[in-house]
């Protein structure tokens, strides 16, 4: 993996440090994390609670900036991006899947999936085709008109995956996507994401401490106390 050509490099972090001020002291959530992720990876950051997984994913997802160190995502240097440029990068190239699903409650499943395409200003016909395709991927085409409140947790998360995938982003960041799901639903959504990874070549980066998820990962980065303790492929 390390000798892959550079145009396959999707994410590169160099000596990432993230400090949070905590009153007089400060909490260092990331203590020099250097990692490279290549196109098509199905990888995960694993580690105990508080080890900095979410912090790392948020910085890669341009939702946060490092205290020091550098992050390049799809050729852009995150810490130098303007808020508008960062929003554009997320809108076009990065999909998010959250532990708590975070669907917009007033939208139907269809509309939730459609929303990122509206932000991209895509035409109505193309939008419709893509939304239906994305709902097919996650097996929810028949629930298009249901609202989140009418869907089970597993179904909500599948809608969230469709929403993350509908714009066919280069990168999907999934922060503990199975934490609120039972075993059966966990396996279902993991298989869905694995299939999308293989068919579309999308890069997935998970954060998890769920053994079910870890079993699917092709690369596991173990984070302990803000440092990379292990990075194993296979």
């Amino acid at each position: 993996m390390l000798n892959m050509p550079d145009n396959n490099l999707i994410v590169e972090t160099v000596e990432l440090v993230k400090r949070y001020p905590m009153g007089r002291q400060e909490l260092v959530a990331l203590k020099g994390v250097s990692l490279r992720f290549c196109r098509g990876e199905f990888s995960g950051v694993i580690g105990p609670s508080g080890s900095g997984k979410t912090t790392l994913l948020n910085i890669i997802g341009t939702l946060d900036v490092p205290s020091s160190g550098s992050v390049r995502v799809l050729g852009e240097t995150v810490e130098r991006l303007s808020p508008a440029a960062a929003a554009r990068l997320r809108s076009r190239h990065i999909g998010f899947v959250f532990q708590t699903f975070n669907l917009l409650p007033v939208y139907t499943a269809y509309e939730n999936v459609e929303f990122p395409l509206l932000l991209l200003g895509m035409g109505a016909q193309e939008r419709r085709r893509r939304v239906m395709a994305a709902l097919e991927w996650v097996g929810l085409a028949d629930r298009a008109n249901s609202r989140p409140a009418q869907l089970s947790g597993g179904e909500c998360q599948r809608v969230a995956i469709a929403r993350a995938m509908v714009k066919e982003p280069a990168l999907v960041l999934a922060d503990e996507p199975t934490a609120n799901l039972d075993a059966e639903n966990s396996h279902h959504i993991l298989e869905t994401m694995q299939k999308l990874n293989q068919e579309l070549g999308t890069t997935f980066i998970f954060s998890t401490h769920d053994d079910k998820v870890i079993g699917y990962l092709r690369r596991r980065i173990r984070l302990v106390d803000g440092r990379v303790a292990a990075d194993e492929t296979g």
């Binding site: 948020n58 959250f98 975070n102 409650p105 932000l119």
Partner: protein, 392 residues
């Protein structure tokens, strides 16, 4: 922007009850403001029409010493009627009025008054001067209803009038009330007696002189003769005092409407604060999906502005029929004299399109503004904190 508007609309629809209540409260304030302003405009117009009919006419020339607010000027405020006015007076397009100070004694007692001499039978202003032709030898007097009440007299009663004669001596004459006029205009009523011009001029030794020259309503201004030593007061100037007075009288009423309106805005503000707090995870999600925080601020502001739109629509549903009805059938208006002038029993509020459009814009802008105030905070909210369901 359209996406944001659609999302804002859907968010409001999902909380239909709260949206309905907020919009209804705002629409009440909105309709009340238009109602109050329309009433005020109706009062203004009616009062102005009356003032023009009875007093202001098409404007007045004032002898330069004349100051209606300074009683002491009255003794000097007269001059011969300028020659250029004679044709107008003969054609009945202007009327000279002589104003001198005096006192009147009636059953009630002695009181200082303003004596106003006017040509009997003139048609320039609505003073019923025809009554001044009679008198059975006694000096005929016309008074307004308020003045008659003050003096405790009615038609046919006699009054004792004193004024300064030609040699500064006190002249005393007996007058008879020839007519009591019902006029809503206090400036031709309270504290004054109307007398025949010639008789008053003779008593005061001011033959051929006048204090005011009132032109008939609608007389073209560019055809007014030159009058050195006389100052022209246009109707607009003469009516501005009236407008101001009505304005001050209605401030109290306006405060009520404004408070109502502010309460409605407060409800929107509250809803916004609560909604932004409750939906912080949603805010984080929108940012993660590729919106800037600025766009999220716009989204929440739009939601508030939509309250304004709904309020305007709702207000139109019950406000328009109400306004059309009131405009046609008027509104009965008891206790009109507390306005400082009497009004007719029926008021016809005037709802101009400017008033309606202006108020609607005000509602929209105010709603968007109070929605924006709390929404501003989103710009400082860190998306990561929002996603964790926290405020920074």
């Amino acid at each position: 922007m359209l996406t944001l508007l659609g999302l804002a609309w859907r968010n409001l629809r999902s909380a239909a009850l709260r949206t309905g209540l907020n919009s209804f409260a705002l629409s009440l304030g909105f309709v009340m403001i238009i109602f109050g302003q329309g009433l005020l405009e109706g009062v203004n117009r009616q009062a102005e029409r009356m003032a023009v009919d009875y007093d202001v006419g098409g404007g007045q020339f004032w002898q330069e010493n004349y100051d209606p607010y300074d009683y002491s000027t009255l003794i000097r405020a007269h001059a011969p009627v300028p020659a250029g006015f004679q044709p107008l007076i003969e054609r009945g397009e202007a009327v000279p009025i002589l104003v001198v100070p005096g006192t009147v004694r009636s059953a009630v007692g002695l009181m200082p008054v303003v004596l106003k001499g006017i040509v009997p039978g003139q048609q320039v202003v609505k003073i019923p001067s025809a009554g001044l032709d009679s008198g059975n030898g006694l000096l005929p007097v016309v008074v307004g209803l308020r003045m008659a009440q003050m003096l405790g007299v009615s038609a046919g009663d006699t009054v004792q009038i004193q004024l300064q004669g030609p040699e500064a001596q006190t002249v005393e004459v007996k007058g008879r009330v020839a007519a009591v006029m019902r006029t809503p205009v206090t400036t031709v009523d309270e504290g004054q007696l109307w007398l025949p011009l010639d008789r008053l001029a003779e008593l005061a030794g001011l033959a051929g002189q006048a204090t005011l020259l009132t032109v008939r309503p609608g007389y073209p201004r560019n055809k007014l003769p030159a009058a050195p030593g006389w100052i022209f007061q246009s109707p607009a100037v003469l009516l501005s005092d009236l407008r101001q007075m009505i304005g001050t009288k209605t401030v109290g009423q306006s405060v009520f409407f404004v408070v109502l309106f502010l309460l409605a805005l407060l409800a929107i503000f509250d809803t916004q604060v609560f909604s932004i707090f409750r939906r912080r995870r949603e805010i984080g999600t929108l940012v993660a999906l590729g919106m800037t925080r600025g766009q999220v601020v716009v989204l929440f502001t739009l939601e508030g502005a939509l309250y304004g739109v709904l309020a305007a629509l709702l207000g139109a549903v019950y406000g328009l029929p109400l306004f059309v009805y009131l405009n046609r059938h008027g509104i009965s208006f008891p206790g009109g004299s507390s306005w400082g002038f009497a009004l007719e029993e029926r008021m016809y509020p005037v709802y101009s399109s400017g008033l309606v459009i202006g108020t609607t814009l005000l509602v929209l802008i105010a709603a968007a503004f109070v929605a924006w105030l709390p929404a501003r905070r989103i710009a400082r909210l860190k998306p990561t904190d929002a996603l964790r369901g926290r405020w920074g």
